[in-house]
Structure formats: structure tokens, C-alpha cells
């Protein structure tokens, strides 16, 4: 069982994600540099947060053209679970693997704060251990985190159950308070908040259990007893 953490120039949550996967959930995890390929026998791929290419032009757009994205696309088509967190989500969106777009927050500022999510789809590889409607206290940290889709697409997302997480409050002006979405097959999930920052009680001032379920869902999906 192997999890890949893809690292782009400017990724900065890669080490945090790696720590959580290995030290907290004891998964066999490996870094993959953006200009290399991904092995075929990988069980899940995670695109961590950060500022790939310094967020220049638009967050995620330059990284979306990396060679590794072709492999992500290929693995995704085979149904392998893919998770993009924060900048990883922005990259997946820019690569066209997830719908919508992430715009500058309405505050125009970078925002680092704790928010609350509710789970809207508990059938993805990263949410199957949740109850529907379950709350997750979790931090966000982004400047371009305002999820936007037009009305027609929003209806489509609702219809196909592609909305995975919503904020309980209007945090940054996102359409329908969307914090995370998935593709039509449910195996690609993107979310702006940072689960890797919330799974350890030492640094989570509220409750670390809900965020842990994101990783436990993955363990369940790939068949690891933990």
C-alpha cells in the first residue's frame, strides 16, 4: 500500500502531510517531485498545499501544466483516490480535473482561521467514515480560496452529489459556501481547508477526531486496518 505526496516547486504543506500520513496513520508514503512520473501501483495520490510557483499568474495554474499531472489524470481515470488540499485543490481545478474555480477571497486578504465544515457527501474515498451533516472544525489558510461556479454548474454539482464539504458560515464568499468538491466518479476530491493541520489533538484546540476521519476514510478505502 503506497501513498504518493506530489511536491511542486513552492509546495509547503508537503512535509506536514507526509508527517500525518506516516507518523499518525502509519501509511507507506513517498514524495514525488513534479517533473517525474507516478508509479502505476500507487494506492492514492495527495496534492498538498502551498504556493506552487509562488502563486504567480493564478494559484495552481502553472503547476497544473507539470508532467506529473498527466499521471494524476491517468490514475484518476482508473479510479485511484486523489486528494487536493488548498493549493492542491487549486491545481486540480486548474488542470480541469475538478469543476469550478478558486478566486481571491472577498476580503482580498490571505485568511488563516479556524472554520467549521459540514459533510455533504459521505461516499468519497475521503469521507466514507463520516455521517452526513457531520461537523468538522478545521483551519483554512489561503488567499485565493473563494470557490466559484455559475448557477448552472452549481445545479449540476448538486444533482451529481459533487459537493463534499460546505462551510457552516460564509467564510470567504464561496458559491453556496462550498469548501470542497469531487468529480462525478467521487474519486477526486479537492478541499480548501487543511485536514493535516487538524488531526493531532496537540495542535487542534477544538476536536481532532472529525478531521482524522478524512484519513481514516482513505485507510478504509484502500483496505488498511489501522
Amino acid at each position: 500500500m503506497k501513498i504518493g505526496v506530489v511536491v511542486f516547486p513552492g509546495s509547503n504543506c508537503d512535509r506536514d502531510m507526509y508527517h500525518v500520513l506516516t507518523d499518525v496513520f502509519h501509511l507507506d508514503t513517498q514524495y514525488f517531485w513534479h517533473d517525474k512520473g507516478l508509479p502505476k501501483n500507487i494506492d492514492a495520490v495527495i496534492l498538498p498545499g502551498g504556493f506552487s510557483y509562488g502563486d504567480r499568474l493564478r494559484a495552481g495554474v502553472i503547476a497544473a501544466h507539470s508532467p506529473v499531472i498527466n499521471d494524476v489524470r491517468r490514475l484518476a481515470a482508473k479510479g485511484i483516490p486523489i486528494l487536493g488540499v488548498c493549493n492542491g485543490f487549486q491545481i486540480l481545478v486548474e488542470a480541469g480535473l475538478l469543476p469550478g474555480v478558486l478566486l481571491k477571497n472577498t476580503s482580498l486578504n490571505f485568511m488563516c482561521e479556524w472554520t467549521n465544515l459540514v459533510v455533504e457527501n459521505n461516499q468519497t474515498p475521503f469521507t466514507n467514515q463520516f455521517e452526513l451533516g457531520q461537523k468538522i472544525p478545521i483551519p483554512i489558510a489561503n488567499g485565493e480560496g473563494r470557490y466559484y461556479v455559475d448557477e448552472a454548474t452549481l445545479e449540476k454539482l448538486k444533482k451529481h452529489n459533487q459537493i463534499v464539504f460546505r462551510y457552516t458560515d460564509s467564510v470567504n464568499g464561496s458559491s453556496y459556501n462550498i469548501a470542497g468538491v469531487c468529480n462525478e466518479d467521487f474519486n477526486i476530491v479537492g478541499m480548501m481547508p487543511h485536514p493535516e493541520r487538524a488531526v493531532e489533538s496537540e495542535i487542534n484546540p477544538i476536536d481532532n477526531k472529525p478531521s482524522s476521519l478524512i484519513f481514516k476514510s482513505l485507510l478504509h478505502t484502500i483496505g488498511v486496518e489501522n
Binding site: 516547486p9 513552492g10 509547503n12 504543506c13 512535509r15 506536514d16 508527517h19 500525518v20 517531485w33 498545499g49 502551498g50 504556493f51 510557483y53 509562488g54 502563486d55 504567480r56 486578504n109 490571505f110 485568511m111 488563516c112 482561521e113 483551519p139 489558510a141 488567499g143 487543511h194 493535516e196 493541520r197 493531532e200 496537540e202 495542535i203 484546540p205
Partner: protein, 721 residues
């Protein structure tokens, strides 16, 4: 860009000939106040720099502390005042970049940033608001992009900074002791310049920092490139892991001139370099420009032939340029060539060691009368006054600032900004607590006691998290040192800090001096800034939920020390009076005892009492925890004072402790045994923050209203003016 006539004479006699133009540029850069510390160096020696945990190694730009288990913590502090005053965004951002590279130079990974920001009166002054807003964005954009959390800092506004800005940045690094760069070099080793290209930007920057703002060269702006810096960090740490770095130094003020001469001098070697090998941003740069350019995001690395190829591969992976610009010689000379032609050839000890000065000092005349108080208008409605006070820029919550900083990245931040000190978990299972504090209002009234107060306040903040202070950083910011009155205030502050550091056995592990901080209307108030690092063996509960009937205790005496208080200055617009004085013995006793009771685990919340006095500190607990409290001012220990003085005195060495009623007896016993002055002053519950004196209600605020005002007012002020 020039030497004083005396310095030119000095240089000529030391090298026995007339210097070339390149030599003049190099020496002028290195002998600037900023690089050479010529005014301050003699005196800085008084600070205690050693201790059981301090690791000193030649050529480090940051202090190193052994935190056990084979791990070290590094720390450094810098300011970027002049550049930030003209270009707040770029100036503040590159200030972050600079101090980060100091941490990296030791071979440690930067794990935290703290920022101290000071501007003019943002309520009235649009320029101050513009400076503030852009400096915050600059720090946010830089630190966030690097993925280094900004975990703490402070913000202060004072008229003395009108049309100016103080932007201080401290950084903390962490790593394995065995990975520290040993800084050694031998003949034939290669000198490599790594990172961003060298351009004309920032030329003259460090003399710029030593000249007053009016006469500055306004072309000296630097464009931040945090993306390159991030790649440099990763490349350097990977190179470190492969043992490819014999010695390393970051390029800061004075550019290549300083980096090359100081490296050579520290390692007792010579360096021969070729400016044609430096990767430049624009064609046709003159050797003088290349030598003094202060382009950001560059590191100087000494490696050797066997390691070069691997180093180049790593740089290529991280898409950063690295150029071999020279090699190590054994003649202790700094030899700068362009192709075959020599442009400078100077003994490194001459370049790196400016003649130190003994500046005259004289007690400033204003101090003779500053302690006299004038008659103040009595407060008719304390509740109303307090709401205004909570909304004032210095007292209001700084969430608008730290909410823009990623303070969680790196997943170490146990105690996040918004409390006292920040706490980071370390890989050895211990916890590091950090805080920076300054107080120009106190320091103006009494430079010695004010500086000591900043030091004690930073210690107090760290102690409030259950950590014991293990190291201090100082950043001494003053006006023009050629003015004996200013130089006197510098010396007084330094002496005070030294006395405190020695008494408490807290070594100074790093620091910086920034002089010539002059605004168009005169020098800034003395602004020493103190950073304190504390270590805790385990995580302590110092901010758990407060419930109804929990009790509030104040430790430490409240004294008649109103000078420089926010209350005098903001409410009464009065500068004067006696400023708070730290009683060392009392301070130590309180600190030790508070640490001791925190370790016993009987406290729910601990908060220090500082700016705004008891009234503000107690309100802060209530507003953060969203619970009311009824406080009896008669129970506050100390001499008998007027109500406003009890509420707003900023006496040091005071702590607020919150605990369950059932633990009160236990606590009282310990406090009594240790002969601590304390009072059981309040009881939590309800929705009001209420202060009583006897049966008289003095002040009564609704927690939710107070909280809303306190949290939002700074944002409102900045965003909507």
C-alpha cells in the same frame, strides 16, 4: 557611498596606498554603521552571551541553543526600517527574507517568524495607515509563501514614527545538532553564489540604513521574491543533508562585499573572486555595482571540487542558479577580479573590522522634568472610556494582522497568536515558547527601566505558557548616535538589559542595532525590542475554558507607575510621569512561582498584565473566553491608589491566574509560602465585565459588545479609514 575623511585616511594608512574605486565601495559598504556596528560594538560586549545551552561557532549569523535530544534551536532578529518607510510592502517582505536566511546559514530550517511593527498615528494619519497596511501584506505574502508560520509579534502606533516605520522580524530555526554547518574552509575550496541574480536594485541599501531618511537614496528599493527564497531553503537544506556545505553565509546588507570579507575574516582565509562569474540580472554592471548590490535571495556557500557537481544538481532540481565565483586562498586577502584584471585586493581583517568609535554620551535634557505629572481631567464614565480604550489602535486586538499570516503551517503551533507567547512543539517532545516585546513610551521616559521592562514583559509572556526563558534576542533601535543625548539613551538601555540578563541568567543569543532612525520631525523614541525564547518539557494547560464561579487572582503589586502608560498617553494625551520599574527580586520570585504553579496543573488560564493595565488584561481574558467577571479593586495588592491608577497602571511582574474554586486553597498556600504579593480579586460568570470598588460600581461592560469592538476596530480603521 563614501567614507568619512578620517576613515579614508585610516584605510589608506592600513593598506599603505591609495584605495581603488572598487575598494572604496567595498570598504564603504562594510564600514557602514549597519554592517560594522562601529558605534555600538564596543558596548555590546557587556551583554552576557554564554550559558550552558548556548553553542557558539564562528561565523554564525544566528544564535544557537541546545534544546536537548540532539536538537538545536536557532534565532535571530533584524529590522528593515528605512526600506519599509519608503516601500512598506517590499521593505517588510525582504526584511522577512533576510532574517530567514540568517537562520538557514546555520544549517537549520526556519520554523517560525515573529514581527514587530511600529507606525505613526493611524487614526489621524493616512500615510501611517498606508504604511501599516502594506507592511502587513508584505510580511504575509512573504512568510505565507515560504510556508513558515508567523506565530507572534506586536503592533504599536506612536506619533514619534510619523512618516516612518519600524519593521522588525525575528525568526526561529530548528534542526539536528549534527547538521549544524561547521563553517570551515581550506585553500582551494570553491566559493559559490546561489539564488537570485544580482541586479542594480538595492544598491546603496545598507548605507541607506545608516543615513537618515531625508538624505536617502530613494532608488534603493528591493523587490521581494519569496518563491526563489523557498527554493533556496529547500536546496540548501538538501545540500546540507548531503554534507556539501563547508561554510555558508547569507547576503544581506552590503551584498557581496560584506559576505565575502566577513566569511574570509571569520574563517581566517582569503577569497579570490571574479565578478564576471556572478550571474547578473542586467548586462553591463560595473564591478563596483556587483560588489555592493543588495539584491535579495542570495547565499554564499563554500564547498569543494568533490562536492560541486552534486550541489549543482540540487540547484538544478530546484531551478535556482548557482555560480562558482571564486576560491579560497591562504593569504587572508579579499581579491576581486574581473577576468584577469584586479579591481580590489585588500586584507580581509581591514575590510571586516572598521575602526570602532567611542561616541560621547550625555543625559538628555528632557529627562530632568519628564517624571513630573500634570493635573489630569477626572474620568466621569469609566465604562464609556473603556469602550473607547478597547477600540484604540494600541489596545485593540491584532487579529486583523495575524489573521493574514499563516500561523499554522508546519503543524507545530500549539498556542496560536492572540494569547501571550506562541508555543511550538519540537521533535524532541519539548515545547518552545516565543514572544517579542517593545515599549517606546516607557523607554522614552526612562531608557534603562523601559528596556528592562520590555525584557521582563517578554519573559512574562513566555512564563504564562509554562516555559522557562532560556535565551534573549535584542534589537536596539535609536536615532542618530552622533547626537550624545541619543547615544546616552542607547547606552542606558543596553546597561539595563545587561543587568537583567545577568541577574536572570538569560544569555543574549543574538541581536541587532539599528541607528539613525530619524523622521522628518526628529529621532524616534528609543525602541529596544526584546525577543525571549522559553522551553517547556511538556505541554501545559494555560488556556482552558473558564466557567462560572472560577476565580481570578492577580499576582504582583500594582504601583503608582503611570508614566508612558496607554491611559496617560491615549486617554489624557499626556507624555510624562514615572514609568514602571522592575524590582528584580520580586520579578524573579513571581516568575518562578507562576512557573511552579503552572506545572502543578491547577490553573485554567494564565495571562500577563501589561499595556492598558489590569483593566485591559482582565477584559482580554473575558473577551477571549467570552465570559463575564466581577472584580473587586480593593483586593488588588499594592499601595493604596486612586481608582484610575489601579485600573491602568502598567506595573511589571504581574500575572493573572484563573482557576477552579476548589483549587484556590492549594494555590494560596503556595503563594503564601513563597511570600508572593497576590489578591483574589474576581469571580467569573454572567455577561458583564464589572469592576467594583467597595460597594461602588466603577465600570460595567457587556462582554459581547466589548469583544466586538475590541476584535473589529483595527480592521475597521485600516479598511474603512
Amino acid at each position: 557611498m563614501s567614507l568619512e575623511p578620517q576613515e579614508l585616511e585610516d584605510l589608506t594608512s592600513k593598506i599603505g596606498r591609495k584605495p581603488t574605486s572598487t575598494e572604496l565601495q567595498i570598504v564603504a559598504a562594510e564600514w557602514s554603521e549597519h554592517c560594522s556596528y562601529k558605534s555600538s560594538k564596543k558596548h555590546l560586549k557587556m551583554l552576557p552571551m554564554t550559558g550552558p545551552l548556548v553553542i557558539s561557532e564562528k561565523g554564525y549569523d544566528s544564535g544557537v541553543l541546545d534544546v536537548g535530544g540532539g536538537y538545536v534551536v536557532t534565532a535571530h532578529i533584524e529590522s528593515h526600517n528605512h526600506p519599509s518607510a519608503v516601500e512598506p510592502y517590499g521593505g517588510a517582505a525582504t526584511g522577512v527574507g533576510g532574517v530567514i536566511r540568517d537562520i538557514l546559514s546555520a544549517g537549520t530550517r526556519p520554523i517560525a517568524i515573529l514581527d514587530g511593527l511600529r507606525f505613526g498615528d493611524i487614526e489621524k494619519d493616512q500615510q501611517a495607515r498606508w504604511l501599516f497596511k502594506n507592511a502587513v501584506t508584505g510580511i504575509a505574502d512573504y512568510g505565507n509563501c515560504l510556508g513558515i508560520p508567523t506565530v507572534g509579534g506586536e503592533v504599536e502606533f506612536d506619533k514619534c514614527y510619523t512618516n516612518y516605520a519600524l519593521v522588525d522580524v525575528a525568526s526561529v530555526g530548528f534542526g539536528k545538532k549534527e547538521n549544524l554547518i561547521k563553517n570551515h574552509a581550506k585553500k582551494g575550496d570553491l566559493v559559490v553564489l546561489l539564488g537570485g541574480s544580482t541586479g542594480r536594485d538595492g544598491i546603496g541599501g545598507s548605507q541607506f540604513a545608516s543615513d537618515s531618511l531625508e538624505s536617502e537614496d530613494r532608488s534603493a528599493v528591493q523587490i521581494p521574491d519569496p518563491f526563489i527564497e523557498k527554493l533556496i531553503i529547500e536546496a540548501v537544506l538538501e545540500a546540507r543533508n548531503h554534507n556539501l556545505i563547508n561554510a555558508m553565509k547569507d547576503l544581506g546588507g552590503g551584498g557581496l562585499s560584506c559576505a565575502v570579507s566577513e566569511t574570509a575574516d571569520a574563517l581566517s582565509i582569503g577569497i579570490e573572486m571574479d565578478v564576471d562569474k556572478v550571474h547578473t540580472r542586467e548586462p553591463g554592471m560595473h564591478p563596483d555595482e556587483i560588489m555592493v548590490s543588495e539584491s535579495q535571495e542570495r547565499m554564499l556557500i563554500v564547498t569543494d571540487n568533490a562536492k560541486l557537481k552534486k550541489l549543482q544538481e540540487i540547484c538544478k532540481k530546484f531551478r535556482i542558479t548557482c555560480s562558482v565565483i571564486g576560491h579560497v586562498t591562504s593569504d587572508n586577502m579579499m581579491h576581486v577580479k574581473k577576468g584577469k584584471k584586479t579591481f580590489a585586493r585588500l586584507p580581509t581583517d581591514v575590510v571586516a573590522n572598521a575602526t570602532l568609535l567611542d561616541r560621547p554620551s550625555k543625559k538628555p535634557a528632557y529627562l530632568a522634568t519628564i517624571e513630573r505629572e500634570k493635573k489630569l481631567k477626572p474620568i466621569s464614565d469609566y465604562s464609556k472610556m473603556m469602550m473607547k480604550f478597547l477600540a484604540s489602535p494600541n489596545i485593540a486586538s491584532k487579529i486583523w494582522v495575524y489573521g493574514q499570516y499563516d500561523h499554522e503551517v508546519g503543524i507545530r503551533t500549539v498556542i496560536k497568536p492572540g494569547r501571550d507567547a506562541a508555543v511550538l512543539r519540537l521533535d524532541n517532545g519539548k515545547f518552545l515558547s516565543v514572544k517579542i516585546d517593545g515599549n517606546p513610551k516607557h523607554c522614552y521616559i526612562n531608557p534603562r527601566e523601559g528596556a528592562i521592562g520590555c525584557f521582563e514583559e517578554a519573559c512574562r509572556n513566555v512564563v504564562c505558557t509554562g516555559a522557562k526563558p532560556i535565551g534573549m534576542l535584542d534589537h536596539l533601535q535609536f536615532g542618530n548616535p552622533e547626537n550624545p543625548e541619543i547615544f546616552w539613551t542607547f547606552l542606558e538601555s543596553l546597561k539595563g538589559l545587561t543587568d537583567f540578563a545577568k541577574y536572570f541568567k538569560i544569555p543574549c543569543v543574538g541581536g541587532k542595532v539599528s541607528l539613525y532612525n530619524e523622521t522628518p520631525s526628529g529621532p524616534i523614541k528609543p525602541t529596544p525590542l526584546i525577543g525571549v525564547l522559553g522551553l517547556a518539557e511538556k505541554k501545559h494547560q494555560t488556556n482552558t475554558k473558564i466557567n462560572t464561579d472560577d476565580v481570578l487572582i492577580v499576582v504582583g503589586n500594582t504601583k503608582n507607575e503611570m508614566g508612558g502608560s496607554e491611559y496617560f498617553e491615549y486617554i489624557h494625551k499626556f507624555i510624562g510621569g514615572r514609568c514602571p520599574v522592575v524590582d528584580f527580586a520580586e520579578s524573579k520570585k513571581n516568575m518562578d512561582t507562576v512557573l511552579d504553579v503552572i506545572k502543578k496543573g491547577i490553573l485554567k488560564n494564565v495571562h500577563d498584565c501589561s499595556k492598558g493595565g489590569l483593566a485591559v488584561a482582565i477584559s482580554e481574558i473575558c473577551m477571549v473566553e467570552q465570559i463575564g467577571c466581577t472584580v473587586s479593586l480593593d483586593k488588588v495588592p499594592g499601595e493604596k491608589l486612586d481608582t484610575d491608577r489601579v485600573l491602568f497602571s502598567e506595573s511589571h511582574s504581574r500575572y493573572l491566574l484563573v482557576l477552579e474554586k476548589t483549587n484556590l486553597k492549594k494555590l494560596e498556600d503556595i503563594l503564601k509560602k513563597n511570600k508572593i504579593a497576590f489578591g483574589v480579586i474576581g469571580k467569573f460568570g454572567g455577561e458583564q465585565i464589572r469592576f467594583d470598588s467597595g460597594s461602588k460600581k466603577i465600570m460595567d461592560l457587556r462582554v459581547d459588545k466589548a469583544r466586538k469592538t475590541w476584535i473589529n476596530s483595527l480592521r475597521e480603521l485600516v479598511v474603512h479609514g
